[in-house]
Amino acid sequence: MNSAIRFILNGEDVTLGGFAPTETLLDYLRLKRRLTGTKEGCAEGDCGACTVLVGRLSETGLRYESVNACIRLMGSLHGTHIVTIEHLAAEDGKLHPVQQAMVDCHGSQCGFCTPGFVMSLYGLWLSNSEPSRQDIEITLQGNLCRCTGYEPILKAAEQVARERPSALFDPIERDRTEIMAKLWSIRSEADTVIVEKDGDRSIVPASLEDLAEILAAEPKATIVAGATDVGLWVTKQMRRLDPVVFINHLSELQSISIEPDGITIGAGVSYAEAQGFLEATIPALGQLIDRIGGQQVRNMGTIGGNIANGSPIGDSPPPLIALGTQLTLRSHSGRRVMPLEHYFIAYGKQDRLPGEFVEKIFVPHPTEDSHFSVYKISKRRDEDISALCGAFYLMLDGEGHVETIRIAFGGMAATPKRATHVEAALTGQPWSWGVIAAVRDLFDEDFQPLTDWRATAEYRSLTAKNLLTRFFLETAGAPTELRRFELEEA
């Protein structure tokens, strides 16, 4: 057993113990290392002023992802390479092309959000030399700027995309091989890490079996994958957590596989990693991913976590329920498999026993000729939490009658929930406007939504009904959705 984590910070190898399980990367950078280029804007993963890159080993090699340092807990950084704004410019002070483009295009005004924007753009620059405007906008969904109106920042991203002055000027490209070797060497020490401060522990299990045993011994442990939810318990509620068990590094939880009858997604797969697979298999679900959080959140957050925390407004449960997803829970004594919708019992209550953790989900392939759509409605189109999110899965029989329909909503009840009355009224009926018009109001039987800051109950109810209308219109071939970019542009 080890009592310290190991990582690389910019160009420095670090071994770090003695930190609290709630210590954030942002506080570590700013308070302990005086790397003050990374800013705190919101401490909840929404503004992006604290964006840094974290490099980690994945199946595709060394992968650098933008993350929110404010809600990234230190225990999740074992075996990673952290890159902050201070690492970009050359030692002689020459700006990195991404920085220079921001200067040339007048992309900063007050400058407080700027390091975060530079880091997000740097992440894009590393991975995409021909980004479309849409790609850039998607990359920047997690970065707020209140001064510029964004136009010059987009221009900077476009201007710099293809600029690669030489092989050695970029710190990540320059050191990639060396960094990879170091991270492999950290990973190869298959030891559990337990870091303790004032009795509170961060636990980094060595393997899935190790995790199961730890949870059996510590049934009250907080399991953290992306920390995009738990991070806020720390920064906003100042909760004390002990122990915190980190699972984001466990390769067994990060597998995603397409099988003949469906897709299996490990609980530790991030939204960003899942997106490509989902777009290839269930496009409507893949496209939804772009509407969840910002890029930094999608790089950290996992579909497993989105399910496990049982939120009534999580965006992945409604489509997954409508698709008939099965959930696998695991503990040291074995596995349980259940339909996803059964996992959600009541507000804040899920069917997860002490010592159990979400291991994977299985999403059956939609039947050929079926229709599947998911609609997220929020005050702001991107990086917002749903007012409501509705998913519709429809299979018609040869006569044009409804054979199977599954409708699931988030934001309409205390849990993600199916519209059973509407489904029952539609089943066996002709898929026609007359029938739709007649059953729309049955949503009122299924859901009695609340009024809050995201929407009133009236709006939620009316929109749920209208989404059924939309789904019907779409199955009839009528384009009804607003699109900022045409699909072919994507």
């Binding site: 005004q109 400058g111 700027t114 390091p115 009528a478």
Partner: protein, 779 residues
């Protein structure tokens, strides 16, 4: 003599009227620009935590702070009793804003105590441990409930009257009585409030404060400490955004930090968390505009009677001048032959609302645009036609007098609108949209062209003064300081350009230094778009004084006439001799020429008699116009802004690229105000949209997909402002009106444009859908 200084360049680097990058751009992109939280902390720096009320309106029965005091790391707990001077931070002298509440809580989140601890984390945790007993009192959080319950006004209301509205309003054939609700707005500067106080000897204290108004922080800290202003120095190098939110709201954090620093003899920092910052600092005022307008069949306004009620919060703060400015802009660009406008600054049990870019002007103007829209739908015309019909005329037209009896003498709105209408292809696009809507059952489009006319000057005449301090060191380098603050708007860059231009030296010779009350005293807030007008002129005045001494010196030394001394780029021509600037300056030093000067400027021409409602409150007007095209989804109320074209008047721009940045940024911020930014209080009077997770400012993907922004290059300020430029901070904010009105047109298509949708702001998807439903039910 260094030969490199013998450059014979035709022009200097960084004169006025050229696009120059922000002076801190390099530091911004490398993360090396220091904000207050980045300044190395003195050894032993302590940190503040805030004890907030969790009632909207209540008597405080008891406060038990034992657990707070016993918490780990806690050094001191401050209550009202510990304040050495006045327990008051009211910005405008009303004494209605206690720094720490004693007996009465008047909004959810009001400060009751503060904790000082070794770390910020300890201070935040300790602050949660207080046990406070309350006796609840009824609370009113919005305009309607305040009115219904006979709420007080936080300050004297204002009335503007011209002509005979009471009788004239009966005469025209058409009349509309309606109202519009306009939401408030959170500033959402990316850097939250912060103050770092470092104690000195005697009464002295130095405070680094993220403030737009260092002099006010200085006076307020002195007032709270019970000392004189000369003991307090307030410094600000840059803010991570301000937008008006740091005009008065930083006082409380600075005062608390200073009180603790003096008591404990250690540096003390207060940095509220984002949620605290949003809950306990003021915002843009929500308004309700009730209007009664009479007009003819063509759509020409004859008389208007309107009341502008505002949610001011629990204290006055700047609500007086904010609601005044709403009335000053209730005309937008339109001539009202007979008019009566009244403000109603209502007291509510919410945080005291404050300055925000536009300062009430946007709300007043939006009311005017709604009136125009209402008339247009009533007479069945494009609102743009109604706008043109009602524009102020040129001098001599008899249509140039504002409701406050100032003549509009520099009117260019017709030209701006005409050029934009042509360049944006407005008419053809409008027709295409009308055609599109006929055949599109779910998606509808709208387009609108809206004008901006904005009055420049503080309406409090005394604030229209500024100072600057310029030193020329004997190596020829220049130190620049002035009373303006840098919050991203590029003020420091612009004023440095003025100095470079004045001395004809490259701008990198000019060192821009942090604003401090120790160098330039009694400054005004960097607000009202006045930063470059006032400080640019003050700096120019300082340069002028030094230049005059230098010219005198040259005449003496070289025995030439004044006319033979010329400042050329980085050098002087004196008679037939060319002398490098730094050589010349050193020679002047040896001749004991004073190379430092304090500059001063006060805006000419302006005066205002609030009681009489008459005067000349504005030195000049800035103009602009925008066209926006949107698509809405009539099943959900969602929308997209497809295209915006802007033509904006900044006079002869001091720095076109910085001005375009202001225009674009202001537009997007205004668009946020009118679309997705919604403040929402629950039944307990708690603000529930207090963080970016719940309060949604525009993202990159919200800005108009096509965004064409131009400055009116032909424009020059009619008044002799610095370089004939015009102020740019606030006016373009109101260009965003076109978005709201385009959404409104898309909604109006539901009832075949026969009904004004009267969409309230912000037009969230919910409000849009509900307006669609309303019109569906009407048609």
């Amino acid at each position: 003599m260094d030969k490199s200084t013998f450059e014979t360049k035709p022009v200097i680097n960084g004169p006025m009227h050229v696009s120059l990058k922000h002076d801190s751009a390099h530091k911004h992109v490398t993360g090396s620009a220091e904000y207050i939280d980045d300044i190395p902390e003195p050894i032993g720096t302590l940190h503040g935590g805030l004890g907030l009320a969790d009632r909207a309106h209540a008597e405080i029965l008891s406060v038990d702070l034992e657990a707070v005091k016993a918490a780990p790391g806690v050094v001191w707990v401050i209550t009202a009793a510990d304040i050495p001077g006045e327990n008051d931070v009211a910005a405008t002298g009303q004494h209605d804003e206690p720094l720490l509440a004693t007996d009465l809580v008047q909004f959810h989140g009001q400060l009751i105590f503060a904790v000082i601890a070794e770390t910020r984390d300890q201070a935040r945790r300790a602050a949660k441990l207080a046990k406070i007993e309350y006796r609840d009192l009824p609370h009113f959080t919005d305009v309607d409930s305040a009115r219904e319950n006979g709420a007080k006004l936080v300050c004297e209301p204002m009335t503007l009257l011209r002509g005979e509205p009471e009788t004239e309003i009966e005469k025209p054939p058409l009349r509309i009585q309606a109202s519009m609700k306009i939401g408030g707005q959170e500033h959402f500067y990316l850097e939250s409030h912060i103050a770092l106080a470092i104690p000195g000897e005697d009464d002295d204290v130095t405070v680094w404060s993220s403030t737009q108004h260092p002099s006010e922080v200085q006076h307020m800290v002195a007032h709270v400490l019970g000392t004189a202003s000369h003991a307090v120095e307030v410094k600000t190098r840059r803010m991570g955004g301000g937008f008006g939110g740091k005009e008065t709201q930083g006082n409380q954090f600075a005062a608390l930090a200073a009180v603790a620093a003096k008591k404990l003899k250690r540096a003390v920092k207060f940095r509220p968390d984002r949620d605290e910052d949003m809950s306990i600092t003021g915002k843009r005022h929500d308004f309700r505009v009730d209007y009664d307008v009479a007009f003819d069949e063509e759509g020409r306004i004859h008389a208007l009677d309107a009341v502008y009620a505002a949610r001011c919060g629990y204290s006055a703060d700047l609500s007086g001048p904010v609601t005044d400015r709403a009335l000053f802009h209730a005309d937008s660009s339109y001539f009202y032959p007979h008019v009566k406008l009244k403000s109603e600054p209502l007291k509510t049990h919410t945080v005291s609302n404050t300055a925000f870019r536009g300062f009430g002007g946007p709300q007043g103007m939006l009311g005017a645009e709604r009136i125009i829209e209402d008339i247009a739908y009533a007479v069945g015309k494009d609102p743009l036609e109604i706008r043109k019909l009602n524009f102020y005329g040129q001098p001599g037209s008899g249509r140039t007098t504002t409701p406050y009896h100032q003549e509009v003498e520099d009117n260019v709105i017709a030209r701006v609108v005409e050029e934009l209408e042509a360049s944006s292809d407005y008419q053809a696009r409008r027709q295409a949209i009308l055609d599109f809507n006929e055949n599109s059952p779910v998606i509808r489009k709208g387009i609108a062209l809206t004008p901006v006319k904005f009055g420049i000057s503080f309406t409090m005449t005394a604030y229209n003064q500024a100072g600057a301090l310029v030193h020329v060191y004997n190596d020829g380098s220049i130190h620049l300081n002035h009373g303006g603050t840098e919050m991203g708007q590029g003020l420091y860059t612009k004023v440095a350009q003025v100095v470079a231009e004045a001395f004809q030296v490259d701008i990198d010779r000019v060192k821009i230094t942090a604003t401090t009350t120790g160098k330039v005293p009694n400054t005004s807030a960097t607000a009202a778009s006045s930063g470059s007008d006032l400080n640019g002129m003050a700096a120019y005045d300082a340069c002028r004084q030094i230049k005059e001494r230098l010219v005198d010196f040259a005449c003496r030394q070289w025995k030439v006439d004044k006319s033979e001394v010329e400042f050329l780029p980085n050098r002087l021509r004196i008679g037939s001799e060319i002398v490098p600037f730094d050589t010349f300056v050193r020679a002047a030093y040896y001749d004991r020429v004073q190379l430092s000067a304090a500059g001063f400027y006060k805006t000419p021409k302006i005066h205002w008699d609030r009681k009489a409602g008459r005067g000349h409150p504005f030195y000049y007007f800035a103009y602009g116009a925008s066209v926006s095209e949107v698509s809405i989804d009539t099943l959900t109320g969602e929308y997209l802004v497809d295209r915006t074209d802007i033509l904006h008047d900044v006079g002869k721009s001091l720095n076109p690229i910085i001005d375009i940045g202001q225009v674009e940024g202001a537009f997007v911020q205004g668009m946020g105000w009118l679309t997705t930014e919604e403040l929402w209080w629950d039944a307990k009077g708690r603000l529930r949209t207090h963080a970016p997770s719940t309060y949604k400012i525009p993202l990159a993907s919200d800005r108009p997909k096509i965004f064409n922004v131009k400055l009116a290059e032909w424009s020059e300020n009619a008044e002799p402002t610095i370089g004939r430029s015009k102020a740019v901070g606030e006016p373009p904010f109101m260009l965003a009106f076109s978005v709201l009105e385009a959404i409104s047109m898309a909604v109006a298509s539901i009832a075949d444009y026969s009904v004004c949708p009267r969409l309230d702001a912000p037009a969230t998807p919910e409000r849009v859908l509900m307006a669609v439903e309303r019109l569906k039910n009407m048609s």
